[in-house]
Symmetry: C2
Subunit: 689 residues, 2 copies
Amino acid sequence: MFLNLVIVVSVICSLIAIIYAIAKNNWIKRMPVGNEEIMRISGYISDGAQAFLKREYIVLIPFTIIVALFLAVGNTGTLRLQSISFLVGAFASALTGYFGMQTATKANSRTAWAALEGLNPALKVAFTGGSVMGMMVVGLALLGISAIIGLFSFIFGSSFTDLNGTIFPLLTGFGLGASSIALFARVGGGIFTKAADVGADLVGKVEVGIPEDDPRNPAVIADNVGDNVGDVAGMGADLFESYVGVIIGCIILGANMAVPDEMRIRFALLPILLAGFGILASIIGTFFVKAKEGSSPQKALNKGSFIASILSALFIYPIVNIVLGGYVVEGGFGAIEISLSAVIGLVSGTLIGLITEYYTGTDWKPVKEIEKACITGPATTIISGIGVGMLSTFFPILTISGALIGSFLLAGFYGIGIAALGMLLTLGIQLSVDAYGPIADNAGGLAVMSAMKSSVRKVTDQLDAVGNTTAAIGKGFAIGSAALTAIILISAFTQSVGIEEGTLSVTNALVMTGLFLGGTIPFLFSALSMQAIGVSASAMIEEVRRQFREKPGILNNTEVPNYRACVDISTQTALKKMIFPGVIAIISPILIGFTFGIEMLVGFLVGATLSGVLLAIFMANAGGAWDNAKKRIEASEVGKATDMHKAAVVGDTVGDPFKDTAGPSLNTLIKLMAIIALVIAPMLKTFWG
Amino acid sequence: MFLNLVIVVSVICSLIAIIYAIAKNNWIKRMPVGNEEIMRISGYISDGAQAFLKREYIVLIPFTIIVALFLAVGNTGTLRLQSISFLVGAFASALTGYFGMQTATKANSRTAWAALEGLNPALKVAFTGGSVMGMMVVGLALLGISAIIGLFSFIFGSSFTDLNGTIFPLLTGFGLGASSIALFARVGGGIFTKAADVGADLVGKVEVGIPEDDPRNPAVIADNVGDNVGDVAGMGADLFESYVGVIIGCIILGANMAVPDEMRIRFALLPILLAGFGILASIIGTFFVKAKEGSSPQKALNKGSFIASILSALFIYPIVNIVLGGYVVEGGFGAIEISLSAVIGLVSGTLIGLITEYYTGTDWKPVKEIEKACITGPATTIISGIGVGMLSTFFPILTISGALIGSFLLAGFYGIGIAALGMLLTLGIQLSVDAYGPIADNAGGLAVMSAMKSSVRKVTDQLDAVGNTTAAIGKGFAIGSAALTAIILISAFTQSVGIEEGTLSVTNALVMTGLFLGGTIPFLFSALSMQAIGVSASAMIEEVRRQFREKPGILNNTEVPNYRACVDISTQTALKKMIFPGVIAIISPILIGFTFGIEMLVGFLVGATLSGVLLAIFMANAGGAWDNAKKRIEASEVGKATDMHKAAVVGDTVGDPFKDTAGPSLNTLIKLMAIIALVIAPMLKTFWG
């Protein structure tokens, strides 16, 4: 009865989000597109992005089939159906990426056109474009989870034994599907976008001396395509994974609590209900994103997010209280403690975002220090940026540790799970804001490329400047939630595999070995993606140089560059180079689990999470800080075309793969490895007896 | 009876090493010094280095007094004597650093002079100079340990209860003294040397265009002083700490084994005996270091190390067998398994060295890839080097993990301790080879500065080229042994504080929070030392520029540069900037232990070890690889003064603080924090009841 109610409510909430996304998508389509020049260029971008995603998905089909077969063969009994839920999860993740990306490539041209009318119309189009992605992600994720629980409980029964023995393990298959696609989307998209970006910048800006987004640059379309497949589709898949992972992790922690079965069901289903209401709060928040002419778009976006957060914070306690009906767990926590855990998550997510903003924002000391280091050349620029990046790990880790220990003291491991969920409660609107960034960026690019009047560029610049801050905060959220999600998935793994806590001591040699081996994986993974950028950027540099050499008419606009050739280079290298890191991520936990056992696997996962989170913060913030140090110099009187600016460009170029490829991929890496362990938990249990 | 025998044997072995060092020091002094020009310049270097070390030690006096007071007040009963053993440890460490550095600054000029006679005489002087440092370190370390045990057991009695309850805890004070000095020596020396190096290179080589080691460069003396205080005194203190730490860790693990008290004493004292015979093997090895004219000096050095290793491997089993007398621990390990553990350590240390050589050596793929990346400029150079550094963590970690799990399976935690000891068994000769490097480097510098004939420079270049490889291998050893030492110290801590293994699960929220907090410390620490280099290098750059501007006669040799001003800048910033990172390292484990408890502290130490080892390998190898990529370009036909070379110089400059400041400091950091925990173990036990 309670189960049915939860399913119905959450299906309704998720359908509202999906309908919202579809309606907004149609609204975008109906907006005027502008002149033919914009249409033509934005058509190139849209075609390139679609072509890449299609080819990426085609490459992933054999992989998904192999994994599905592994799940069908490796499991026994009803657990074989994990292969089905895995495919559904993979499909849902791919669908959100594709849908969000398609809307984004439509919204960019319309934002540029709307900018003719002023700031607010342009902001509205760009944010609406982002919100399609945001709502689609949370809607499809929650729909998938509730549909799987609803459908399978209808087939197999809805007693606690059915739920815990059959249905929840099937749910982990859904999570694995989402995670696998996310990893490849992040790595592939990240390599694509940075190969194009580095190639476009180093030849176009530095060697030839034409401005950013100049249509004479052969790599300019590839660069803009990259924004869409990397920052929109990649980020969407990443947070789809986080959202699914955190809900599933919470469900399993709830189902394993030391309470009567009847209450276990309630603890397990509570996260679904909270997520559903979080979606509603996010949707309400979007209606408040309106900028007045002359005021900052940042304020408008903040207002929406803030209202969504307040609404969420308000409904948490009533819902928890209704679900638990005053029940208090032995040891002494109930509705109040659980609600506080959620609030801790909500607050600490924002805190990490603000810390990120401090270390990467243009107005603060760290970026100014890097700017100063640019005076003495590229070497001191790099040293200073690496210093800032490393230093910037401290306070986010302190916040994560505080959230971890605080929510644990309140409500045990379930509390940690709820805190992680709290961090993602308003994901719908957070992701809308995140996806708004690349749309505004692309709109600016289109304005330059189609030679629109300067007032348009002024508006899009205003929108874009905000986009950098939102991107920084979004990355902070992504890292914080990834850390907590990985932790609760690991904890859910130890509970579902039924290992005793006492055997998992850090001083156990097996666990310790696992910690070291796991710790090295994020380094290995980052190295591989950095090297992929190196190879693909070199190919891109040579291609762009070749075009300028062989078609001298490009520079005086008498010849059209071959954009497609550059898009093809990014596409091919991205698809080729994403395989090996992906396979490492998938194979290594399986290998360790089946050859060295569960103890080493737990150590392995914890080690990977630890070093992954540290590296991810380091790389994201160093990259963001270099980027903004360069922007400061470009905006200052010293200006471009000085040695100081050249040093800053070197910093920014090094930072690009840091912040947009290796860094974000680590988020998906640590979650994926943890969820793989969770999926193979039943097999490991059988295997090791 | 057995105790007395062990003390006598180990005192004899260590006295042999010390007498060897003193004799060789006198031999060096008797060697001809050469012409007046060399004497004058080498006098500058020697004076600068002595002045720095003296001022460094003076700065550390208040610190050592505070710590000694803390130990005297915080402890109760006989444990108050920890303050005495702490002071002895600190003094012994400072003494080795000073003595080794003084010999090195004498040996450099004599090596340059001996190079007039050919390769073998020069190699002999340089290696003998290094061996003074090597033997002094192992001799004083073992003498300190055996004297403390001997003296206090004479006073307090030599029953197992006396040893385990009073004397071994007093021994940890000795370790703490060694560790504290090591940390400051590493950080201070590292900042000194790199501030001078970066300043000398960026102005002298890049801006003014004069060659390396040109006496017209005002920072050239500071640069050479830096080699001595950083690479000789810093490294000596570092490995003195490792050696002391590993022996003490093994003693405590042996004393806590689940065997009768009589056997516990034997297990506890076995490491001292093994170390003593390792010293003898090292000394024998040094007699085989002889190069024939025309053959590679590498071969001569390898021969000495190899013979020492073989001798050590041969004597291990007989000694273990005599000490244990056929005893087999319940669970089934005895002399064979323990001996094999030592061999595992010996082999895996060499393996890590060889892996390091692969990633940083001029003849292998990684460095060639960085060289290729230099073609497309500094940005790709940096990306490629960071990629190589990150990738290079994998196999060393695999080796450390293999050693860890292999020795554990053979002989439990005691086995891990013995493996760590095995890695350092031939430290006497390893360190001789390490310290040889900077002597050869300095000799080359002196040859250039005093305008000796080109045949001399050819000989010193040959010696120096080998020095780079030996430095890489030495760094591999230093990191590997630091990792294992930290692990056994942590394990010794959990045993002496008497916490149950079961409460230390990685999934315990307290432990996990500790892991995260600990993991961030190496990042914080590296950031601080990188920033210190940034600040001090800027000051140095401005000073060198000022001198060239205000004394235009420097460049045509009509004015003498003010070397002392540059030495002063390095000295002052190094002394100022080493304090804060040092204090963090010392305070943080105490803070966590007394506020959040033992569980979080254990997590903290493990987290710091994990991320510290990973970062240390990453930074050391990235730095080494950039250095050699630059060397390849300088040796190639493309040569200097191209854009490619400029890109390589940027890489090398970024790599300098990586490999010579932040990276090596991390080794001492993780050992120091672990030994602090061990020292405060009795206080924590009392405090938490």
